[in-house]
Subunit: 327 residues, 2 copies
């Protein structure tokens, strides 16, 4: 593998000139540029990022922390991040924490060790203390889930309002007994969505019943199925479910279908996220759509700005209620 020296020698110029050509600096005479380009072609030379990165003390890698790669919620966000990253000549290292602090630490180490220039954290279960202390020396952006501790910039949606609108939609449809499938309240979004749920109920003078609120530790299909079983056994069974994730809702739908409960007639169902699959169920799922791709591009832009020492502002994006067959 040729290096910059050999190119310089073959072209009859100095390495500095080769470097200039490589970086598109227009101080170079067209004639010398041509010589250099010729030499590059002849030697099949490819500049090594290893040398360049050391010299520039940067890795041009952005770390993206997600709890699980199999949650479709993150797909579009990741695409947005990646597109923006590539635009700015960054690459993304997608890191799945499995909500495992040990694994998380492996990834944090990458930025400590300069293998990454910054982090976009989308992991609700992230250790916020570590994140905080890391953010003192490194660039970090929170995406979707966030904490206001530590002043780490974030991009998100108004979770409370989204939940409020979802539940209000159910109420307008005539539902009075509405279950909430929520995730663990240690997560901010869970607390916020619960707030929205309660706000809607209260606004219409409906009772807030503890037994209608089911908490699941994960946001998988199975958790949705389990939760559904629980509310089906209630003496005063709800007529509608608001699930804080489409995965949960789809698990619920599966259980309802199996139990022969008609959706939406006997049980209305509304999810959250608008993942692809939510439109492939039978019936299709009413859900809250977040501008995921945009969230990704915004997060990436914020991070890149932060890396470059610019000031970045927190961003709250708009959501949308998507009414489909399940309500």
């Amino acid at each position: 593998m040729a290096n910059i020296n050999e190119v310089a020698k073959l072209a009859g110029v100095s390495v500095a000139t080769v470097s200039r050509v490589l970086n598109g600096q227009d101080v170079v005479t067209p004639k010398t540029r041509l010589k250099v380009e010729d030499a590059i072609k002849k030697l099949n030379y490819e500049p090594s990022m290893l040398g360049r990165n050391l010299r520039n003390s940067e890795s041009r890698v952005l770390l993206v922390l997600i709890p699980s790669i199999s949650n479709p919620f993150y797909f579009e966000i990741i695409k947005g991040i990646e597109a923006t990253a590539l635009d700015y000549n960054y690459n993304i290292l997608l890191c799945e924490t499995d909500s495992n602090p040990e694994r998380e630490n492996i990834y944090f180490d990458l930025v400590r060790k300069k293998m990454a220039d910054g982090i976009i954290s989308m992991d609700p279960a992230v250790n916020i203390d570590t994140l905080k202390s890391l953010s003192e020396k490194h660039s970090i952006i929170q995406c979707s889930e966030y904490s206001t501790e530590g002043n780490i910039p974030y991009v998100t949606i108004d979770n409370e309002d989204a939940a409020y609108r979802a539940v209000k939609h159910l109420i307008k449809l005539g539902h009075q007994k509405i279950a909430l499938f929520n995730s663990n309240e240690k997560y901010l979004y869970a607390r916020q969505r619960k707030e929205g749920y309660i706000k809607a109920l209260k606004e219409f003078n409906l009772p807030v019943k503890e037994e209608y609120m089911i908490y699941t530790d994960q946001l998988g299909f199975d958790n949705g199925s389990q939760a559904t079983k629980k509310i089906m056994n209630l003496k005063d069974r709800p007529t509608a479910i608001f699930a804080v994730s489409d995965l949960l809702a789809i698990g619920a739908l599966k259980e309802l279908n199996s139990a022969g409960v008609n959706v939406p007639d006997e049980m209305a169902l509304i999810g959250f996220d608008n993942i692809d699959f939510s439109n492939m169920t039978h019936p299709t799922l009413t859900t809250i759509a977040q501008p995921m791709y945009q969230m990704g591009t915004v997060a990436a832009s914020m991070l890149i700005n932060k890396i470059n020492g610019k000031h970045v502002e927190n961003t709250v994006l708009n959501h949308e209620l998507l009414i489909r067959e399940s309500t």
Copy 2:
């Protein structure tokens, strides 16, 4: 940020000694080791991978090429790759090509530019010529989809046999008119699965009808729905569908459910891949399960071996027919 020099100075040793401690070389006296470790702690020192990587001319990054991040088929494979990679102190750069040659090239450039030490390609649409020429200088492994051109090592399953067994299962159930939802025949796996389909039909003296074979360009839900519409309009409508991907099958199921066609009574359905969703549909989907996680670990091990100059052998893993409600 402290560097190795400052640590050496504070510890009163040379940088060489610090490096030895860092790399766990046991030539160092316990006493000096202690001094060094103290200094490291005091300075909060983290060794920079930038320097180390340049020196070792390696990046300890593995490139993983997939066509689309939203195809769940890849999840478990990626998990397998990642787990093995981490074991060997590698990180993976997950690269989504969108079957776009331009994007593909951006990623290939990363290994040319030494940002990555090797590639695991899972993209059926990959430019095999580029891959071939790249494999002359770089370590590459093909995973799942492969080409025998260029002698690039691969890990895969026996696609023909898998398809054969799927279709045989349908035939044993009494089906005589079986549709095939295949992807584009430019892909090897598509050709192989078609072979298996035909082999089973022939073995039972069933006619092979062109009109029962639908080709889709992508493996998404929508393609499955479209394909289903086509065969529903056939005068001699099939009674069973074998789809070469669960996504296709789920799209088909959606269409069948909407059209009020009972699955499996009026139309049996079998997919391929055993993605998570396949167990969440109503009815649940019969499918072919591939050992995806293992495929990932094997691919990663092969690649790491290749990077280290060892010889690697092609591997064919076992598959399994998972009979569920849709047949």
